[in-house]
């Protein structure tokens, strides 16, 4: 299982680097999907199959599809790719690199120096997740559902068509 974990982690890291360095937006998104899928695999290996499935369904399957959808609608040509590749060169890299170096340092410290929080692995069943969600965390679940409801109402309001406001094109 350890080998699986390390391979998935390596894939995640490499694909995430590719996300940042791609000039073509669709390629970047595809690498991001791969990255999300490998993270899902890591969750699975760590004993959280439910979260892994949700990662695939919600992040890789729904949200990223919307991203791809939007980019398809924009129909970016080679010009946009060229512009992106210009932005990606030179001193752009310094700031993010420093921040990432700090993060890597922290992670290395945790991995070698600190304690291992995930030692005795046990598989988290969907039942446990739901018991936790609707037990101690019921408040947060309800609050976030209110937030989603608000979002739904707002989306409906934005998409609403007042009668007589917009004339339907005659077909």
């Amino acid at each position: 299982m350890n080998a699986v974990f390390y391979i998935a982690a390596a894939v995640a890291v490499v694909s995430t680097v590719m996300v940042v360095t791609r000039a073509n937006a669709v390629y970047a998104l595809m690498y991001l999907i791969v990255s999300l899928l490998s993270v899902a695999l890591i969750f699975f290996v760590l004993g959280a199959p439910f979260i892994a499935a949700l990662e695939v369904i919600i992040y890789a399957g729904a949200i990223m599809v919307l991203f791809v959808f939007t980019i398809m609608m924009l129909n970016l040509g080679p010009k946009a790719v060229h512009q992106e590749s210009q932005w990606l060169s030179g001193r752009m890299w310094i700031g993010p690199s420093i921040l990432v170096a700090v993060l890597i340092g922290e992670m290395l410290y945790v991995l070698w120096g600190g304690e291992h929080p995930v030692e005795g692995r046990h598989i988290v069943e969907p039942r446990e997740v739901s018991l936790a969600l609707f037990g101690p965390y019921i408040m947060i679940v309800e609050l976030s559902s209110m937030l989603l409801l608000g979002g739904l109402v707002a989306a409906y309001h934005l998409g609403r068509r007042v009668r007589g406001d917009v004339k339907e094109p005659k077909s």
Binding site: M30, A53, V65
Partner: protein, 317 residues
Amino acid sequence: MSGILWHLANVAGVLGVLLTLAGALIMVERRLLALWQDRYGPNRVGPFGLLQVAADMIKIFTKEDWIPPFSDKPVFIIAPCIIMGTVLMSFAVIPFAPAVGVADLDIGLLFFLGMSSLGVYSVALAGWSSNNKYALLGGLRATAQMLSYEVFMALSLMGVVMLAGSFNLRTIVNAQQHMWFCIPQFLGLVVFTVAGIAETHRVPFDLPEAESELVAGFHSEYSGMKFGMFFVGEYLAITLISALIVTLFFGGWQGPILPPLVWFALKTAVLICGFVLLRASLPRLRYDQLMSFGWKIMLPVALLNLLITGAIVVARH
């Protein structure tokens, strides 16, 4: 050791049967459509036209596999692989019989949902990478359609999950020993069937590849075996949806006298014929009808079903 061998045999058997079946289904569909339209269909090659499958395969393998110079080559090649991959992966969690089946996942149903949502990329990327306006329109339509129908596809299944108390498909089949879920979950069955047809973009939800308006939709630019993969992917998806309906609503492998595997195959075959019958009899929807049907009728029905099932489950406790 024998455990691993059994496992490998399972994987190889399932893959072999599925890929053969996908080829055979092309011929079965043509013959069935012909039957319902008072024709004969392909009946020349071999006995009863059975070798038509082989002829089709030879044709599609030897056809020129053309990649348009204006397309985005790597994405163009990956797109058909995604649909075959995700559909075949989904079959991993289907319990064909008590001892037959590739994986026994606790999150089997979620795995299927995840795979089907990844399948959307296939059509979206195929449409985008073809760099053709019809393909792009088809891809956009397919993406929007699959995204919105996935929402209540998942919701319609939650009633089954509540009754069985598990995402594991084997547990769900075992929970139907006394009563198939098609009776208490009739609404769920209807919603899931509709969503399943939309997911496989079959008639009457075949707008992404509507010939009369979009040439062939997202696979307009595909030829040879890449087109064949979309084609086979569609038939595999039909088989998958039928197998899932059988597993979730019609008691899976359960049935008297005959061996479990035969029961499973029989039920799935009947449902596949149902898919073909739909194609033979129903016209295509308009795009706005499709969307409003999904969001304004199917989603509330799925939610209602969820609510009622939840109330009953809670009341029984």
